[in-house]
């Protein structure tokens, strides 16, 4: 499903001393890490650590105050979110953001359309290119839907789907853009154990199909099972970066989590 041509293990996404400031608040503070081709990278950290802000910055929603981000060797500075998506970087949202009144197929086709170039004139005069692109978009939407194991009929409106199918549809919509890298923002949130097992399989399947994954997740069981590498953020700073077993043993990480737990209780 990937359109990437970088070798396995090459750097796909790199953040270099990224700092994001809102007014006086520094949400992301000098964070650097890399995601490599063919791996599942988890980004974890207590609430408020700035994980979603990192996603929003990578996808171009926020502009980093300092530092730079590059994807497949290309700096992302100055690109709009839709341009970044078209480079092969797709995402899902923490609180599902489907297009509720569009059907399952249409939602996925919005992703598939990321590969199309024709616009108004193409559509008005049904140019050969437009027909070709329309068909390609439909095909990649259908492929992505079957890849994630969508059960619901294609004509059903997204608002009427079960929770699990909504999650699946969001992932399908992102996969339909034919990304090299997919960012999953808490995909397991609200899932029961059985659904989590399905999700775990799906994420591994995505990676094995050649799409690299960055995952924000609170479920440590899931993270430890499937991640190739883990980045830990706390208060906007990166406090650890390594293999799951290294991170698990890292004293700074333990303090961050215990501290957070103390503060919460």
């Amino acid at each position: 499903m990937s359109k990437g041509d970088l070798p396995l293990g090459a750097t796909l996404l790199s953040l270099n001393s990224v700092l994001v400031r809102f007014g006086g608040v520094v949400a992301v503070n000098q964070v650097s890490f890399e995601a490599k081709v063919g791996e599942i990278l988890a980004v974890i950290g207590p609430n408020g650590a700035g994980k979603t802000t990192v996603f929003n910055t990578v996808t171009g929603v926020y502009t980093p105050t300092e530092g730079d981000i590059s994807f497949a060797g290309r700096p992302l500075a100055g690109l709009k979110p839709h341009q970044i998506t078209r480079l092969g970087l797709a995402r899902t949202f923490q609180n599902i953001r489907l297009f509720p009144n569009m059907t399952v197929l249409e939602n996925a086709m919005i992703g598939g359309d990321a590969g199309s170039k024709s616009t108004v004139f193409g559509a008005m005069f049904k140019t050969p290119r437009q027909r070709r692109e329309e068909e390609a978009s439909r095909q990649s939407a259908l492929d992505a839907l079957s890849f994630v194991g969508m059960n619901a009929p294609l004509g059903r409106e997204a608002a009427g789907l079960s929770y699990g199918d909504q999650r699946r549809l969001e992932i399908a919509r992102a996969l339909a853009t034919k990304p090299q890298l997919i960012l999953l923002d808490e995909p397991a949130a609200g899932m029961n154990p059985a659904e989590k097992v399905d999700l775990q399989r799906l994420i591994l399947k995505i990676r094995d199909s050649g799409v690299s994954v960055i995952l924000i997740e609170h479920d440590m069981g899931l993270v430890m099972k499937i991640s190739d590498r883990i980045v830990v953020l706390d208060f906007g700073k990166k406090i650890a970066d390594g293999l799951p077993e290294e991170v698990r043993e890292n004293p700074a990480v333990i303090v961050a989590y215990l501290g957070a737990e103390d503060a919460a209780s």
Binding site: Q94, I110, G111, D113, V120, A123, A189
Partner: protein, 381 residues
């Protein structure tokens, strides 16, 4: 740790009204008809449109007015304008309160070029459409960063500026407007294609052709990447942008297409009425066209046509009540928004802009980038 378990089933209500269901079924059945039958359907529709100006129908539909005349204006013109505004409001979900400006730009293009430069209708038509589309882009490019009601107010201001500018300029004839606008050239000696002063039917037929063309292209647009993109950005602009929809470009397109349809109807209208003045282009007209779109069911072409027909026809049919039409339509807008925000024939893909979309559920403050993703922040939990 995370507690954000609320799925969209909680957020999006999807109760369907019976009319809407019937509408959906009809649409589905139509789509599944074999091709020849659909062609036959269109032929029947065209025949009906051709027969519509007949006196016997007029006796029932509008006994107190000249039926062919009101078929051209207001009925036909409102339908054309409403179809154009529907692209902006219904599909792309942007509230344009200055739509009459494009109707005026088309009209004055026809008047100025026709009277001062002796251009013919068919030469002016593309210019009028292009002029309106261009002003749509010029207005749209800077304003479309704004959301929701700010955009509405800017477009309202634009409509007022255009009206006052034509009222003050000499080239547009000031408050007295321009008269002696040429008619379209007649085609052969066919009576129904002879464009003169007396018979309104040729103009009506011209309008029917324009409506058919607009419908044809808007259906194609809706069933393309552009149409999907419009609906997506209406439902969740940020998500659409992040999923690869060039939201800004598509919004400009929606504006330009809506504007060009407005310009088209302006040219056609001015080519019949001989004289136009700034009073032909009041804010009220923008609002009435908005009523057409909202009443029928914004986003749904059949609904919009029905809405435009009702808004144009009811005051003509019930002339005694014509004085009360604005009162009535004003009250109706409020009632519709309270009880049936989707319109009489709601679009299947609609509702969300009335439920929570376009800046609705989200804060308006700041308007542009900042803060729109706050809800996603872990901090909020």
């Amino acid at each position: 740790m995370s507690m954000s378990t609320s799925g969209i089933t909680h957020r999006y209500r999807s109760a369907k009204a019976p009319i809407q269901k019937a509408n959906d079924n009809l649409r589905l059945r139509w789509r599944n008809l074999p091709f020849p039958l659909r062609v036959l359907g269109y032929v029947v529709l065209i025949a009906l449109a051709m027969l519509l100006p007949a006196q016997s129908i007029g006796n029932i539909m509008a006994p107190q007015s000249d039926w062919p005349t009101i078929l051209f204006y207001p009925i036909g013109s409102y339908i054309l304008l409403a179809l154009g505004l529907n692209v902006v409001v219904g599909l792309a979900g942007m509230l344009d309160l200055g739509y009459v400006a494009f109707f005026a730009i088309g009209g004055y293009t026809m008047a100025v070029l026709g009277v001062n430069y002796n251009w013919s209708f068919w030469e002016i038509l593309p210019v009028g459409i292009a002029a309106a589309a261009l002003s749509g882009v010029i207005l749209g490019a800077p304003t479309l960063r704004l959301r929701g009601d700010y955009l509405a107010i800017v477009t309202l201001g634009f409509g007022e500026i255009i009206q006052r500018v034509v009222n003050n300029l000499t080239v547009t004839g000031g408050p007295t407007g321009i008269s002696g606008i040429p008619h379209p050239p007649s085609v052969g000696t066919l009576s129904f294609l002879t464009y003169g002063v007396l018979d309104p039917r040729p103009y009506y037929y011209l309008e029917v052709v324009m409506i058919a063309l607009v419908l044809f292209f808007s259906i194609r647009l809706e069933n393309s990447r552009v149409g999907r993109g419009w609906v997506a950005l209406r439902e969740d602009e940020d998500a659409a942008e992040i999923m690869g929809v060039p939201t800004f470009t598509f919004k400009i397109w929606a504006f330009a297409i809506g504007a060009s349809v407005g310009g088209l109807s302006g040219v056609v209208y001015a080519a019949k009425v001989i004289a136009i003045t700034p009073e032909n282009y009041p804010l009220l007209l923008s609002v009435l066209i908005l009523v057409c779109v909202v009443l029928g069911g914004s986003g749904n072409r059949a609904g919009v046509i029905l809405g435009a027909f009702l808004v144009a026809w009811l005051p003509e049919r019930f002339r005694g009540l014509a004085n009360y039409r604005i009162l009535f339509f004003g009250a109706m807008l409020v009632i519709m928004m309270i009880f049936r925000p989707g319109g009489l024939l709601p679009a299947r893909r609609r509702a969300s802009e009335f439920a929570h979309g376009i800046g609705g559920g989200q804060p308006l403050g700041g308007e542009i980038q900042s803060g729109q993703f706050e809800d996603d922040e872990d901090e909020k939990e």
